[in-house]
């Protein structure tokens, strides 16, 4: 058994390792190292805990057994899960952390003495408050994550569930939790403790159901943050620095991350987090959900990242490039890509733009060499071997409906097979159709990323992010 001082130092070290882990994960170069730091931090925290408890009875064997059991399950899941199921996996994992926090809180509530928090019925006031906050937040995290998981998995419908008075209900429940904590402190009756946990489970559900599927990543990050706060709360109860540092770290970084993600998706943070609050905003998000539901939308950084990691890119310009006068920015973007040894070519559809040769005029103005510019027939087979199609302000000329639907007004027009690329980036301002007025189903495809912005603005932003 090691002294409290030494374990405190080691907890600090593990906290620092976690900081480094998060730092590492914020830039691609250091990301793997970051993960390693995280693992090290966790190992240290666990070892130190063993050593500081110093109780080497047979219980240790059970602890190890359960640890290994959990580890085996976790590893199995991690290896088996398909990459596409990442978001729901993270949501699922979250629920576990939440539940674990609840269990730890219960345990502390049951046997306060062993944690030095007083005796049952005589638990220190501060500890009682801390542990009920921990338990409550943990419970919210648990049930909220479960809902998020179900929505992402498709088991539950992704569309937001809203009903009248939702916000009032939430408010009511929120207040009731506070009241219950108050009574718990006053009476020390375990009864109240259980009710708090129960109600918190319900809160988690209520908080997440009004949020649409598209906003789930933000929600997950937010739940992440909750689980951090829960850990910190319990850290105070157990007077454990590791839990406090890490909990605060995870709590604030998760909150910030969800804020950043909202900004990236051009969504209002409040709107997303408060889900059902305010009649208009619910309306709003509903409408948005209906419209945006199936499209993946990204920002300049995503686009830059995708293209930087591609080995070949085909640019497909259309009328929107002309409207935005984005040709110069485009040329610059391509220059940057080429400097990264990426093969870049231009695919010009015969009727791109609004006059014959429209694209040629603009590309020539931007000094794009002629030998990088290909007409449809010469390049259409290349899409299948290309990593990224960068469709800038083009729409009709990529619309596969021209190949498939004889009733479509553009049926029979040859189109650029951009969808055969690994990823397709569409730069346009909205989901509205092009000249022919036909919806483009590519926007909703799995391998499409929409970049909603003025073409020039977006291209310039991408240039910036290509540095």
């Amino acid at each position: 058994m090691i002294s409290a001082n030494i374990s405190a130092i080691f907890y600090l070290i593990s906290g620092i390792l976690f900081i480094l882990a998060l730092r590492g994960l914020s830039s691609p170069e250091s990301s793997r190292q970051g993960n390693l730091f995280g693992i090290m931090g966790m190992v240290i925290a666990i070892l130190v805990t063993f050593l500081s408890v110093g109780n080497f009875s047979e219980a240790v064997i059970y602890v190890l057994a359960f640890l290994i059991l959990g580890g085996a399950v976790g590893s199995y899941i991690a290896f088996k899960i398909p990459m596409t199921a990442m978001p729901e996996l993270v949501a699922g994992f979250h629920s576990l952390v939440g539940l674990a926090a609840v269990f730890v809180a219960i345990s502390a509530f049951q046997s306060p003495s062993v944690f030095g928090l007083g005796t049952p019925g005589q638990i220190k006031l501060a500890s009682l408050i801390e542990m009920s906050i921990g338990a409550s937040v943990g419970a919210i995290t648990f049930s909220g994550s479960i809902i998020a998981f179900l929505k992402l998995r498709g088991i539950m419908s992704g569309s937001p569930v809203v009903f009248k008075g939702q916000h009032y209900l939430n408010l009511l429940i929120g207040i009731s939790i506070f009241v219950l904590v108050f009574f718990l402190c006053k009476t020390q009756l375990s009864y109240y403790f259980w009710i708090i946990i129960l109600i918190s489970f319900i809160v988690g559900v209520l908080l997440i159901i009004p949020i649409g599927g598209a906003d789930m990543p933000v929600v997950i990050s937010m739940l992440n943050s909750y689980s951090g706060w829960a850990a910190a709360g319990i850290g105070f109860t157990l007077e454990n620095t590791a839990l406090i540092i890490t909990g605060a770290l995870v709590g604030s970084s998760g909150a910030i991350l969800s804020y950043i993600m909202c900004k990236g998706m051009n969504r209002s943070f409040l709107n997303v987090i408060l889900g059902g609050f305010g009649g208009e905003s619910a309306q709003d998000s509903k409408e948005k959900n209906k419209e945006q539901k199936p499209v993946k939308s990204g920002n300049a950084e995503d686009a830059a990242f995708l293209m930087k990691n591609a080995s070949s890119v085909i640019i497909v310009p259309g009328y929107g490039m002309a409207v935005a006068q984005a040709q110069h920015a485009l040329r610059e973007m391509v220059d940057k890509l080429k400097k990264n040894d990426i093969k870049v070519t231009y695919a010009i559809h015969p009727v791109a733009g609004r006059m014959p040769g429209h694209m040629n005029v603009l590309l020539a103005e931007a000094n794009v060499p002629y030998d990088e510019v290909f007409e449809l027939e010469d390049i259409n087979n290349d899409f299948a071997n290309t990593d990224v199609a960068f469709v800038i302000g083009a729409n009709d000329v990529t619309n596969p409906v021209a190949k498939s639907d004889p009733k479509s007004p553009i049926f029979g027009m040859p189109v650029l097979d951009v969808e055969k690329c690994k990823s397709v980036l569409f730069v346009k301002r909205s989901l509205s159709p092009g000249y022919a007025g036909v919806d483009n189903e590519l926007f909703y495809r799995e391998n499409t990323l929409m970049l909603f912005a003025d073409a020039k603005k977006m291209t310039e932003d991408i240039v910036k992010n290509l540095e």
């Binding site: 015969p350 609004r354 006059m355 040769g357 027009m413």
Partner: protein, 359 residues
């Protein structure tokens, strides 16, 4: 099935079948029959045609009599028309419906200028392909006639100001004219009655002159409507100021089935700077400008007013290449590969609209 073509009558310089499309016809399973010396004026050698699979006969009548389908830029001469096989087909770039009853033989006549402006028909659209070149060439010709340099040059001997170019009508020809003038460094502005034109003009770096308080005069098919009297007045007011300021004016405004709108009147021309150029691409449809006469260059108060009927003769090679591709695309649509014959499917909008005489 045999596709044939005979020489055009001067001054027409274009042809409707090029060595390139000859090959395409062959690939489709069609034979190509041409009159001796076809395409020679353009520098196409008979050997080029032949190596791509064409056959030559000496006489134009022979061609017509042997072919199942004749492609022409302009309406064939009378004797050719009379010699047509029964149930054969004739595809012409441009005829008016009224003139279609020239021969009472029983064959199909298609006129490509009647193509619907639908997406699928784009590859056959001779109006677009030729108007595009016309827009380009109108600028080249205007600049050739212009006695000053067009781009701005700041030099040790003083500054050459950039020429100001005004394009009237921002359809296919107008847009290409904008692009070409812009490329050369002119200050370009343009005007049109369709409100979508504004964005299109700006997408080429031109400035759009709108008529104040005007509504959008676009028909459902994308063409312009005739304008109201009130609009005309407003437009004239705007034009007066604009015309005076510009050095080169290129007119491309048309209204399908109607005479071209008269946009520039005598007064405006009087106010133009001496040495200015007024190029009226609409001359053969009645002209957008006063004084303009088909195939003549008129000088009025130092302003050169140029009216050309067939500006395509100024770049017949490119024009023929595109024209022939249009024709080929049309034939490909008409020809049924399974039945190995030309089938006039009247459910096809393209065929229905272009057919002016049915067997």
């Amino acid at each position: 099935m045999i596709v044939g073509s005979t020489k055009e009558i001067a001054p027409e310089k274009r042809v409707s079948i090029t060595p390139d499309t000859t090959k395409s016809f062959k690939d489709l399973g069609l034979r190509v029959l041409l009159q001796k010396g076809y395409g020679e004026e353009l520098g196409f050698k008979s050997s080029e045609y032949e190596s791509n699979g064409a056959e030559f006969v000496n006489n134009n009548i022979d061609v017509v009599q042997k072919s199942n389908l004749i492609c022409k830029v302009n309406l064939p001469v009378k004797e050719e028309l009379e010699a047509f096989k029964e149930k054969s087909n004739l595809i012409v770039g441009n005829i008016k419906k009224e003139t279609a009853n020239l021969s009472n033989k029983n064959y199909n006549i298609f006129s490509l200028n009647l193509l619907p402006r639908i997406t699928r028909a784009q590859s056959m659209d001779i109006l677009s392909s030729q108007a595009n070149l016309a827009g380009y060439r109108a600028v080249i010709d205007s600049i050739y006639e212009y006695q000053k340099a067009v781009p701005m040059m700041m030099t040790a001997a003083g500054t050459v100001p950039a020429a100001k170019v005004l394009i009237i009508g921002a359809g296919v020809a107008g847009l290409q004219a904008i692009a070409t003038a812009k490329r050369l460094g002119a200050i370009v502005s343009a005007t049109d009655v369709r409100s979508a034109a504004k964005e299109q003009v700006e997408s080429l770096g031109g400035k759009f002159l709108s008529v104040e308080g005007s509504e959008n005069l676009e028909t459902k098919t994308g063409y312009a409507k005739e304008v109201t009297e009130e609009y005309k007045k407003k437009q004239a007011k705007m034009m007066e100021a604009a015309v005076e300021k510009n050095d080169i004016i290129i007119c491309t405004a048309l209204i399908p089935g109607k005479p071209a709108p008269r946009i520039i009147n005598e007064n405006m021309i009087a106010k133009m700077k001496p040495g200015s150029i007024l190029f009226d691409l609409a001359a053969s449809h009645g002209g957008n400008a006063a004084y303009s006469e088909v195939d003549k260059t008129i000088e009025k108060d130092g302003v050169k007013i140029i009216g050309v009927d067939n500006i395509m003769n100024k770049l017949p090679l490119t024009a023929s290449n595109l024209f022939a591709k249009n024709i080929f695309s049309f034939v490909r649509n008409l020809y049924s590969r399974e039945k190995k014959e030309f089938s006039v499917n009247l459910e096809d909008e393209i065929i229905k609209n272009t057919l002016i005489k049915n067997k």
